[in-house]
């Protein structure tokens, strides 16, 4: 009897493990399949940079996407774009070999999301790991946190209305710039002769508003 109980327990844990592995993969595959329907799109983006020491007015950029994960930007004048966050970075992750781990569930704006951590199996340009908050009903990424080699982590919040292809209407990219070193002349106003912008965490926020999607 005791042996049977142990066998059942082992079997149950094996299935539980298998299920927890399959859920993130299924979700990510469904997400990829959703994007697979889009060959390319073009959208107008309004970009507002909210950084203490950067003064720039709202800029307009034309964003072009080409399947599977190619992005092109065409700015009106000179625009400042966040290094991560505008290229739907999760696409470059899920279109290559990866390991996904389910990391629980969380509520974002009243929507129950599944949290999935993705670790790329091959060496990507900069991203070491990403965490996705996915709405399983609409198959859309509500939030994403990317951890990069060179520039720390980026938190990207996506906002959606009712676009047929579940493309975002707004993206808010938040990242820390306290470790950023700046040219000598720029330092004086912040911290004497130190080569960091700030010792305290200094958030930078870039708000991108999308409009006029042309999807092919």
């Amino acid at each position: 009897m005791k042996k049977l109980s142990i066998f059942i327990l082992i079997l149950a844990s094996f299935f539980a493990e298998a299920e927890s592995q399959s859920v993130p993969d299924e979700l990510l595959q469904a997400l990829a399949a959703n994007m697979e329907k889009i060959n390319s799109f073009e959208v107008e983006a309004r970009i507002n940079v909210d950084v203490e020491f950067i003064k720039i007015k709202e800029r307009f950029v034309k964003v072009r996407y080409l399947k599977p994960d190619q992005f092109e930007f065409d700015a009106e004048g000179l625009a400042l774009l966040p290094r991560n966050g505008m290229q739907m970075d999760y696409l470059s992750l899920i279109n290559r070999p990866y390991t996904a781990i389910r990391a629980g569930e969380e509520d974002i704006s009243g929507i129950r999301t599944v949290v999935i951590k993705i670790i790329p199996d091959e060496d990507l340009d900069d991203i070491i790991m990403a965490q996705l908050w996915i709405d399983p009903q609409k198959l859309s990424v509500m939030r994403m946190k990317t951890f990069t080699k060179k520039s720390g982590s980026y938190l990207i919040d996506f906002k959606f209305t009712n676009h047929p292809f579940n493309l975002p209407d707004q993206t808010i990219v938040t990242f820390d710039i306290s470790n950023m070193s700046i040219p000598a002349k720029m330092i004086s106003e912040f911290k004497g002769t130190e080569d960091k912008v700030s010792d305290e965490p200094l958030p930078a926020k870039v708000i991108i508003q999308y409009s006029n999607y042309k999807v092919n």
Partner: protein
């Protein structure tokens, strides 16, 4: 008066040294522009390298406005020297050449002579700045074209191309005012000297000396720094602040005007009483 000014201008423009200033500006501006045209991308990458860890710059970073801004930064050190080269010679040159006596036997007042010489010197100084503007903007437009401007001072500002021209107009106008102060200083020194080397070197030494002392001993000289006109020579940069207000530049303009007035009045007063011995 008009005739006096044209005579003084004739004198200025028949001296070879006058063309050193124009030649220097021509060569320096073109050298900077060609240099940036060839190696500008590398240079700019070095400047924005820290920013590009977090941001992507999308658009044309090198354009006529950015290059003109770099030229302004570079040349405001040299232009005062070129101004002093001519304005320091205006009165002392007459003494040196022994033409004071002949000149002052003519039926013109000393006041008119001093004013006409100063105005002629000013015209030369303004022409130097105008040449700088014409080359910076003209050749800059041909080589680089217009675009939004990236300014990195105590912060990073990106100024839209439709918001730039008035800033350059203001910066150049303020620059002209500063050059008037420099011309006033060298003219003032020139009235005391019988040799033009003294006022020319004196002006350069004063400007460079005060600037170095103000920079090195900033904490020591802090209480008196607001009273030096050299403190405000770089205030043209204020025009490129995104939240610029004319109030910011008001004090700087006032200081320059006060110095110009003081230099002119002392020169006038001294020259009227001056005993001409050469």
């Amino acid at each position: 008066m008009k005739q006096l000014i044209s005579i003084e201008l004739y004198k200025i423009f028949t001296k070879p040294r006058t063309y050193i200033g124009f030649g220097a500006i021509f060569i320096i501006v073109l050298a900077i522009q060609v240099g940036i045209y060839i190696k500008g991308d590398e240079m700019l990458q070095m400047i924005i390298t820290t920013l590009s860890d977090r941001f992507i710059f999308e658009g044309k970073l090198i354009n006529m406005y950015g290059v003109s801004y770099i030229i302004l930064n570079t040349l405001w050190i040299h232009v005062p020297i070129l101004v002093a080269l001519v304005t320091g010679d205006l009165l002392a040159g007459e003494a040196n050449a022994g033409t004071y006596r002949i000149l002052l036997t003519r039926p013109i007042s000393r006041t008119k002579l001093v004013i006409s010489k100063f105005i002629a010197g000013l015209i030369y100084s303004l022409l130097l700045v105008i040449l700088m503007i014409a080359l910076s903007m003209g050749v800059g437009w041909l080589l680089f074209g217009p675009g939004d401007m990236l300014v990195m001072t105590t912060k990073v500002s990106i100024i839209s191309s439709d918001d730039i021209l008035w800033r350059f107009a203001g910066a150049y106008a303020y620059g002209m005012l500063c050059m008037t102060t420099v011309a006033g200083l060298s003219f003032f020194l020139s009235s005391f000297s019988d040799n033009s080397i003294g006022p020319i070197i004196g002006t350069i030494a004063l400007i460079i000396g005060i600037t170095i002392i103000s920079t090195v001993g900033a904490s020591l000289l802090e209480p008196v720094l607001p009273y030096f006109f050299t403190t405000y020579l770089t205030y043209w940069q204020e025009f490129f602040e995104t939240e610029f207000t004319f109030k910011q530049i008001g004090l700087a303009v006032m200081v320059q005007v006060i110095y110009i007035t003081i230099f002119s009045l002392i020169t006038l007063f001294y020259f009227k009483k001056k005993d001409i011995l050469t």
